[in-house]
Symmetry: D2
Subunit: 392 residues, 4 copies
């Protein structure tokens, strides 16, 4: 385990130009990142072509640095300093605290288990039999459809067409891998080409089709994506000794576990898309910093938390993010500050997307433990008061 | 209906400094907004105190301008130019197009129907009877609890405590109005004070309580918030003559309606939190521009779309946003570019939050119609091809 | 704790007329119940008037007896023998086994925590403001509406009107208590009368209303009923020493707890309405036996299971049934065999419905522990094989 | 279209022995069914062996006859008389009325589009990578696993293993076809054998597995089964001319369509598993009559209703039942009255299960239209009053 080098901080005035500069110097030293635009250089209009219309300037969102984050990924290995863009005070500090805990616990194990991006056309027929028969034909002609789709893209690969039928409609999900791009546009274009081929070749005829029908479910959160993945499916795991819980977090694994059981039940009753604490906070802050599409926060913040209180008091904590939509290429990733932030983690460009997904997953886990501990620590105090009152 | 003044655009090169300047001048003329930081002036570290830790600079997110948006609200009335921060190309253009359609249709009627912000402590007892009996006491002592909660805040008002029981636990939702702030912190502090009072005064005693238990459901999307509102519940409505659908959108209300029926069914099967198209896009872009917490996009992008195809071909379209979390004061709203963007809509500071919520709702509706028309227009073309093929 | 008297069983041939008679004699001795129709006397057509049309005879569903069930309710106290109608072999035996376990553990604590029956009219207005304003009026005129509703019924009491708004529609839930009847018809009639009064008295006018709009949500399972109760909300709880788990169930509380954690996660991902095992089995079998409406099994089988593995190895197990729809009067409860089965538990007629609800809840808990143990016991064997294989 | 022969009814006293006998004679004439036990002959204890334990007699549930139901299925073709067991007065009459409407409209088109029965073991590993790698192995070894599973059964065929991962767990769904049996037991046994093979052959080892983990989701309703089918996926469709709506139902297609839009929205907000009216009523009544497991009513009553108001006023109505669990062999189907009821529809035994599923689907559709019309007809009256009041 590497020795932990904390980020410089000025205890007298951490909001001075000098404090900012000290951190930028530190970051440059650790990672080689220059961060000129992050530091204040304004973005030129021409640099935003393709990303915006009616350009009038930029929204400047404060960037804080959290780390070092210790990641045991298959692609991301070692320490990372994570730029987070937010205006929510304490957020960066809270994630930073969680990163300290997990660093001392040996780091976060992260795994990307699946990878799909969808477009979801619906096909309408005279009746349900028409829809069912078309489904059979669709499966039989997968190779040709794949060929038609992939002629529109060099990186997108169509690997599956899911089918869901209702009434006289066949809903489909065209599942692609999309390289280092998030891939929503790529899959749209490829699926349009595939649909053109389908319409031309399906002899019995299709009454009507719509290129999208809310089954993707782009910019929305859904059970189908919790089940079947959209973007990357990422699992972050760690085992934290109770001694660390106590020393770093002033908390206790048994109490954390009980709180978790309670909030899992609460979430199930409330009908949440996430039985964890606040993955959206970390995800959004990294998304804005690195040029991801923050409009995907809804689907990306779905999460499945599963924990175990081990017999020796160790706390196994895992979070599964079933539809994390990330890119290291295309979209907003090439904009000046965004690219700088990706580069500070060596995550810009080709072949980096899984590494980046692992860093996001590990960050999220740190935030979960930090907030959960805070809730419980507060309770801890109150519990003492309470116990005191009950035992005069 | 006012005559519509479109935003200046340079058809040769719209990404020049001159094109940017022309729009800023136009905006200043229309609204009086100076937009110095948006235009490029860097944010000083000291200006971010309270919003970030470990400050290293800013993420610069491209800002585009959409409008004029014609709003028939109870608080927002007339035309607005809406700053949107995004890196997704065509997004601003698409919303702008929808704003043109709705302007010609007479504007968007928007209504804020409810307003609540929650903190959700859970209380644990020896058994279910303990939880149930505590619930009765809680209702009876509402006035005292309210008093304890409100001593911590000048703007927050506790107006209701919802109860949901399971096992030996009583889950609660403390519902507040929070003035022009989003109010998550305010409600946390007030509820902690309320819980302190409760623990001290409930004679039979509470085994344990947790200040939060996933019933709020902060930073998550949930059925309970679709039902019971978190933040503002906003309904945006309009009736669009089919002639406008055809002329402005190259679309057709009957076809749009069929597409809507199909995607409503698809969404219901998929288990979505939003049976509309892409409200998250507009909401996120405005949130980043104006200093809202984009980590709330999950819950804020839940939506209920309901439409009617009228006998004369008119298309009634409504979208209900059940948990829109917005502020015009506090949080990130006071940061330099964010405040400028709010001021450009005369939405900064006290007494403006409902006006702002209405503008967001109206913007979302414009985006729904624009994307839906695009999907259908594409189909329109294909449908023609298809029909042609079937009738040789 | 009473000494447990098991139900007579003939180990040689338990499907003889003698074995049947021995049990009927035993039941008569324990409870005084005659059970003539259960024993074989055919139902007369005239006895079914009001319950069926186009009568052609009866479906004869096998009835088994489980017990003694030891209940620590507020209304049901002591031992009960529970008639269960099913064709699923082993079901009665499995519940019976669970009843033995819980009897030795000191019985099941059961609590009815809420009680509501709904009818859910929707009111449509020109726009969302119309719906919102009507909601205010509705709250202000509750007393008059209550009076209009209650004129149609001697037992139904309207105690609340919930409001949920979307688009230009106000959805409502009229919540009643309905005495010992399930109350769906009663609430329908009362709400129709209330709506008549509303339509006549709401000066601004209502464009249209529908007496039911899927918000009740009769014969369906829903999140709103998990949250807000339909019928009775029943919690059954017990603490089972691990020694009993081992001796009676050949199981282990730690293993059961892990299985529970796994299946809670599985259920959350799968989008279930019940994170427990099979409450529907016990509920359906009692429903058919006692003349409840088995078409309510969907909503009645929603459940929230919450368990704790205590430090000493004790297993705290609770199941919350949020929408158990039961009656001891009206509907099918007065039919010959159904009434006999209710009488065998002293649950027929006025003032018995909560007692009956408690017995159903306690039965369900017994079945949960029995099936869970069976799943785990099987695993236990395999786990041994597995461990054996890994350690040659 | 065959001429419709209505079921005999005695307008003076329809609950006499003579009226019952007249219907039984009619049924015998139409179908050859003897119905001795339905008519009153008591079931012998020995006939219930394998279906019940601790037998004490039978619950006698009133049986009514509805029909003729005109079915345009792929397996069920022509007219059927449907026995329904219920104690809810008016239920049979209401379904009968719907059958009359659909008979005049040319019958119900019904299609079985999918067929799967599941058992869902979960496998636990050291970490997420272990779970992912096992998933790859599982797919590669499908043929051997299939062989192991199918050695335990002559009718069950394993055709797919779905995988869903979270944390360090791989959840699976083993999908079988099960001939004319419902198949829950068969799939349990086969999957246990498959798991035994898996545990013995997976070299890296499995930390633990559970044969069931709430992903099946037996006796529960769930989104995964709405998406992926459990039992039969059945679509029933019809186009009803508005003239028939008016003459037979005193209703109107445009009004029905508006009510449907309203209740679809209401259901979506409420979080229902069924956006239709009351499929559970018809399904439960047929289930009890024919020896299906009524504990499956939760999952079987999930439904997706999709309708269209055609330009000429015709009403296209479809209902999709995604997880209808039915059998014509095994379970309770061989019990005396249950077998008689199946035989009355020529649906007992081998090769009949899809025919039976189609009859159930068609019946459900009739009930939907009947109840919807009743709700609207009531409104119709009130609407007239309302309009009268508004126009003095």
């Amino acid at each position: 385990m590497p020795e932990r080098t904390p980020i410089p901080r000025d205890r007298d005035d951490d909001y001075s130009v000098e404090a900012q500069r000290a951190r930028l110097d530190f970051l440059r030293e650790q990672t080689g990142a220059e961060m000129a635009h992050v530091a204040g250089k304004a973005v030129e209009p021409a640099e935003t072509a393709g990303n915006i219309e009616h350009f009038i300037g930029t929204a400047q969102v404060p960037l804080g640095l959290a780390g070092p984050l210790l990641v045991n990924g298959e692609h991301a290995q070692g320490e990372f300093y994570v730029p987070m863009a937010t205006a929510e005070g304490t957020l960066v500090a809270s994630y930073n605290r969680g990163m300290r805990l997990l660093h001392e616990a040996g780091g976060v194990t992260v795994t990307v288990t699946e990878d799909h991006m969808q477009r979801a056309p619906a096909f309408i027929f005279e009746n349900a039999r028409g829809a069912r028969d078309f489904g059979v034909w669709l499966a039989e002609n997968f190779a040709s459809i794949k060929e038609a789709a992939e002629q529109t893209t060099s990186t997108g690969k169509l690997h599956e067409i899911e089918q869901y039928s209702a009434s006289r409609i066949l809903f489909t999900r065209f599942n692609y891998t999309t390289g280092d791009a998030a891939g929503q546009n790529l899959t749209g274009k490829a699926t349009a080409a595939a649909c053109k081929w389908i319409v031309e070749h399906y002899a019995p005829g299709i009454e009507r089709f719509f290129l999208e029908s809310n089954f993707a479910t782009d910019k929305k959160t859904s059970q189908v994506n919790v089940l079947n993945t959209r973007g990357k499916r990422v699992v972050a795991e760690a085992v934290i000794p109770n001694a660390l819980m106590k020393s770093v977090m002033r908390s206790d694994s048994a109490l954390l576990f009980q709180a978790r059981q309670t909030s899992s039940l609460g979430g199930f009753m409330a009908g949440v898309n996430n039985n964890g604490s606040h993955s959206a906070n970390g995800i959004t802050a990294i998304f804005i910093a690195t040029g991801q599409d923050a409009a995907n926060v809804g689907e990306s913040s779905a999460a499945l938390v599963y924990t175990e209180l081990r017999q020796n008091g160790d706390y196994y904590y895992s979070i599964t993010i079933p539809s994390l939509i990330v890119a290291t290429y295309g979209g907003g990733t090439g904009l000046p500050t965004q690219r700088e932030c990706l580069e500070a983690m060596d995550c810009y460009g080709a072949g980096k997307v899984r590494k980046f997904a692992e860093i996001v997953g590990a960050t999220v886990l740190c935030g979960e433990l930090s907030l959960a501990s805070a809730v419980v620590a507060e309770e801890w105090v109150d519990a003492h008061d309470l116990l005191g009152r009950n035992r005069p």
